[in-house]
Symmetry: C2
Subunit: 349 residues, 2 copies
Amino acid sequence: LPDDSNVIVYPANVLVSVTARVLSGLGAPSDLASLVAESLVLSNLVGHDSHGFIRLIEYSGWVKAGHLQPGARPSVAWTKGATTLIDGRWGWGQAAAALGARHTIDAAREHGTATVVLSRSHHVGRLGEWVDMIAAEGLMGLAFCNTGGAAVAPHGGTARVMGTNPFAWSMPGADDVNLVLDFSTAMIAAGKVVLAAMSGGAIPPGALLDRAGRPTTRAADLDDGGSLLAFGQHKGSGLSMLIDVAAGLLAGTLPAAISQSGYGNGTVFLAVDVARYVAPDSVAAVSRQFANIVHESAPAATGPVLLPGELEARTRAKRAVDGISVPAGVRREVAQLAEKLGVNLPEFA
Amino acid sequence: LPDDSNVIVYPANVLVSVTARVLSGLGAPSDLASLVAESLVLSNLVGHDSHGFIRLIEYSGWVKAGHLQPGARPSVAWTKGATTLIDGRWGWGQAAAALGARHTIDAAREHGTATVVLSRSHHVGRLGEWVDMIAAEGLMGLAFCNTGGAAVAPHGGTARVMGTNPFAWSMPGADDVNLVLDFSTAMIAAGKVVLAAMSGGAIPPGALLDRAGRPTTRAADLDDGGSLLAFGQHKGSGLSMLIDVAAGLLAGTLPAAISQSGYGNGTVFLAVDVARYVAPDSVAAVSRQFANIVHESAPAATGPVLLPGELEARTRAKRAVDGISVPAGVRREVAQLAEKLGVNLPEFA
């Protein structure tokens, strides 16, 4: 497990190179290896290390199990009017998502609004990356996906029904920082509970039920037949259900409790061409004014309140200069994977 | 104020007639009076009396102040591809919403997906009504609107910035009951806080800040310069901000903290033609299976866990038979309004 006492700082481009070489070792063609590596390390850059290149470990398990076809290329299954279906062919989810986001942008420009669904897609990474890409083109972006593996109990229930089903929403912002909301509908990430359990720790109340359906803070209760809870009580639970049903049906992955596959992201992108309704100059001016109001909505001593996506943008700017800290435990895991694949990884030796 | 000790039960059609006559007295043409009355009383039928015909009081204030043009008819300002703008002309919001929802359905059928924005629209009523209408046609529906009057502090802030900005999402369901999620992004409705304050009561913790930005349960603190909090901490707060900016920009109402108008719903509808992606039979079968799993996700003794919209559907079926209970206080307020307008209201005498 990550040992924070022995951290080495790497520039992002070194981690992209490391990640791409491991992906090539897993069988990815070089262009897809680069695309997935850039996407994973972008998560490290914006501060979400849980979605960063450590995911190589999980992905290698899928490749080994035969779920993930490392050489598969996503393609457009069909386009009709403002709707498109992308077939991910059970290859790299980021490749399907990048193709889907590009299509979403082009179709929304043409029709004013567009819906693009990704079928047979593995983990698409951070939804925030894709809606940020959409907002950067002057469009409003929405994205949601259901996640393989029922882990979350509905509000009032005690059994695992929904996945951790993330939801993301973007609007073009001022000064090149878009509004980018991206959250899991689970109260806390399953990965954090697993990490807390390994160190024998506890998690905050309100996030977990034990196998008998009782509220618990003992992290090990998740693995012992417990369930995560949704954020925001019945409201967040309702969002999670809608994501599971809508994404599961549109993408064909089915809701997690029905498919029981344990992997795959049924993913839906929607976009609206904001410029059809309001001039880009007005969007920038209103966004700037709104940002100022939010920043100043707390007493000066507290510091500015941040908008959705702003912490990520600041972290990205900082880590692009300062580099990304990689704990010894993460280096060791990735180095071991590389060794098994016969990939030379002097950076992590 | 409502006096629950003196309740009379009315069939829905009597309340529709009462409401329509008052609306006509306010200047609504008879077809619009019927449309708005049906919409308001539908909220009573599904159990949301706060959005029912009691809103006549608020609406009459807007008519009197000259904000609401009771004779104005909404129209399509423009349609281009899969995008449409409806001009509500500051008439009845439900009329704009009904026209908008109808357009959303037709355009999503034609293009596969559609976005319809309502500008210059007054209170559109329950968003759940409009997304349910969209789901009833086999489409996925999304709706959100920003609300006039900043009342909600962003997570981490202590000043009023956002409106109570509701969000709604529907999918076609099984057995004529659609999945219909519809919630305010404020932790609790402003109306409930006002009612609690009038009886000197308290509200649950986590929903309100006092004027100094301190957490409070004293309901009167809202009127005394306090702020509501968003549901779901930073996640719900982020949703509220996206709604305020996206709806405020697309509809031209501007975010509540900028416009400061105190009224109007900048409203956005999106729909996806589900049948382009999956056959209606499969939608019904998967929805039924998912509903069963959710129902049975709690111990039998607890009773079934309900899906979004299910409580409303059950209440509607019950109240359609049993009628709608109207407290003396509500009858008195509406009767007084009718008297001022010269409308004869023997039912409430």
